[in-house]
């Protein structure tokens, strides 16, 4: 039986550690730069999934009944790799190879089932379709596992997403969960400036999804909506209202952090900001 309060506390501690890892990885990436802002906006979501909600086994990565995860906005990988580390799939040393030659942790995920990376991504607009395939396979085999897909709101500009959004309710995939990272920014500006996503919850409802419109940094809310299983034939879409660059005063809501080099000075300032959230032992997990 899950203990909600304890789980949420653990997840919140996990998010602080993940942000610390992200700082270290971004600094280590140096001039290669990293997708800092879009990685930080999904941290609370991935922490909730990998820290508690998903049924996964790091010692048995291809366990047939595991829940599946697809980071459709592949550039958000800092929030994915660090969650995989916290869940026991990737070591701290491996995290620090981020974007280095011959690493398996590039700037967009490359499928590596042993390390918990279910699919490659990076080219936008492909993840939800894969998730539908995974969910249909589970239905046809009468399996109970679920598939979680994180899509960016900028990513939703791609038309292929809307093909998939139409198909999931049609095929009654209540084992599929779409999480829209609604950080209201994309590469070169706000959604409103570049391509207005508009009323995302209304659009998803109109396509036939059950929609939860929540604060994407409220771990308790994420925990509750993502833990609830559905059996009514209606897929779940969570519109997670987030802040790009979440966690550090210099990066929050500043779109210049979409893909940017983290300087040593910024790193040190960020560590200082984070220090109040981290437990003494965190930040150096093996």
């Amino acid at each position: 039986m899950k203990n909600r309060a304890q789980d949420i506390n653990n997840i919140e501690q996990m998010t602080a550690r993940m942000r610390r890892h992200i700082l270290d990885m971004a600094l280590e990436a140096g001039a290669h730069s990293s997708h800092f802002g879009g990685g930080l906006s999904v941290v609370d979501i991935t922490a909730t999934l990998f820290g508690s909600v998903m049924n996964i086994r790091s010692n048995e990565p291809e366990w047939a009944d595991r829940d599946r995860f697809i980071l459709s906005k592949g550039h958000g990988c800092l929030g994915y790799y660090t969650a995989l580390h916290e869940a026991g799939f990737i070591t701290r040393d491996e995290l620090m190879t981020f974007e280095k030659t011959d690493s398996f942790l590039y700037g967009h995920p490359v499928m590596n089932r042993d390390k918990g990376i279910e699919f490659s991504s990076g080219s936008l607009g492909m993840g939800l379709s894969l998730g539908i395939g995974v969910a249909v396979a589970a239905k046809r085999r009468a399996k109970d596992h679920r598939c979680f897909v994180i899509m960016g709101d900028g990513e939703s500009n791609e038309g292929s997403n809307w093909e998939a959004m139409m198909a999931a309710p049609h095929h009654k995939l209540d084992n599929l969960v779409l999480i829209l990272d609604r950080n209201r920014h994309q590469q070169t500006g706000t959604n409103t400036e570049i391509m207005d996503v508009g009323d995302a919850p209304a659009k998803l409802r109109a396509f036939g999804w059950h929609v939860e419109d929540i604060d994407g940094h409220d771990v308790g809310a994420l925990y509750d909506v993502l833990s609830a299983r559905r059996s009514d034939g209606v897929p779940l879409a969570v519109v997670a209202n987030t802040v790009k660059g979440k966690g550090f005063s210099f990066s929050e809501d500043d779109n210049s952090w979409h893909h940017k080099v983290l300087t040593k000075k910024q790193y040190e300032a960020a560590i200082e900001e984070l220090s109040g959230e981290l437990l003494p032992s965190s930040g150096s997990a093996a």
Partner: protein, 323 residues
């Protein structure tokens, strides 16, 4: 699938698209995890009976090819045996990047079939023709490309593709009826060209619907004293390099014939094998020139581009006489 005269005749009558659907219908009981995916093209792929008989093995995702390819890959990632089909331009070009990322990059295994490729739907205009698919699919790593010579070979290719180690693009050309090249059983092996006729003057390498007129062209050439080897190059990638190298030593001239643009298809693939050889005979390429200009009736288009037995024989003869 064992081919005999009756089977060849029956499949030939219904055409390659229906042969594809019928083959999947016949194979369905043998594959517990088979799932056939279509994009509102069940009828076009001869899958009506399959849809009604095996609803648990069938999935229609509507007119949405990018989504269809993603779903197919998702199903494949779960270990299912996946056969996806729609008209060739939509099957290869509308979802080209999904093919690259899902099948090429990640390596999920899907049999994806381009229906009515080439110019058989010429009366509908070039939106529904596909003269580019071999070139495009050939450029993507980890994809096998097969272009069957007739309906019997289509059936054999479907079965072989379902058991192949990587994704297969199956390019179906020709109409219905579709003249049979094979009327008795033979060994079909992916990547292994088939010799249909032997001669030491010219080596004709054909694929898809062009194999049949190439054989007829060889007969015409023989009447003029020019003996041709004819090879059915059903697998465009990986191409049978040894078969091409052997032809380069056993014949004085090569001729490639394809219902496809001259850029990047069979002719190019053969030339790529020939290029590094120190001694190789000249090669003439027959196919569709770099144009969308000639639409209309299938036979008229083929005749326009010289893709008939007479056209092929005439061009080879003129080139051969200049050697």
């Amino acid at each position: 699938m064992i081919l005999d005269k009756r089977k060849a005749k029956g499949l030939s009558r219904i055409g390659s698209r229906a042969a594809y659907g019928m083959t999947l219908f016949d194979l369905a009981p043998d594959y517990d995890d088979l799932i056939v995916v279509t994009a509102d093209t069940s009828t076009s792929a001869g899958l009506d009976r399959f849809r009604k008989t095996y609803p648990e093995k069938y999935l229609d995702v509507g007119i949405a090819e990018q989504n269809a390819m993603g779903i197919a890959a998702g199903l494949a990632s779960e270990g299912m045996t996946v056969a996806l089909s729609t008209f060739a331009p939509f099957q290869t070009m509308r979802c080209c990047e999904q093919i690259k990322v899902n099948l090429g990059y990640m390596g999920h295994k899907v049999l994806f079939t381009g229906l009515a490729s080439g110019v058989v739907l010429g009366t509908l205009g070039y939106t529904h023709c596909c003269i580019e698919d071999l070139a495009i699919m050939r450029a993507i790593p980890n994809i096998t490309v097969i272009s069957p010579a007739d309906c019997g070979e289509t059936a054999k290719a479907v079965e072989a593709a379902l058991n192949h180690h990587q994704s297969v693009y199956l390019r179906l050309t020709g109409g219905s009826p579709n003249p049979p090249v094979y009327t008795e059983d033979y060994d079909f092996e992916i990547g292994k060209a088939v010799h249909l006729r032997e001669g030491t003057d010219v080596g004709i390498i054909a694929t898809g619907t062009m194999v049949h007129p190439a054989l007829k062209a060889a007969e015409i050439l023989a009447e003029d004293g020019i003996e041709a080897t004819v090879i059915n190059m059903h697998t465009i990638k990986p191409i049978d390099e040894q078969a091409i190298k052997d032809l380069c030593t056993s014949t004085k001239m090569l001729a490639t014939v394809e219902e496809h643009t001259l850029m990047g298809g069979l002719g190019s693939a053969v030339a790529e094998v020939k290029a590094p050889l120190q001694h190789a005979p000249p090669q003439i390429m027959m196919g569709i020139t770099d144009s969308y200009a000639k639409a209309g009736d299938y036979t008229d288009i083929l005749a326009h581009y010289g893709l008939t037995a007479e056209g092929i024989a005439g061009k080879i003869k003129r080139s051969y006489q200049k050697l």
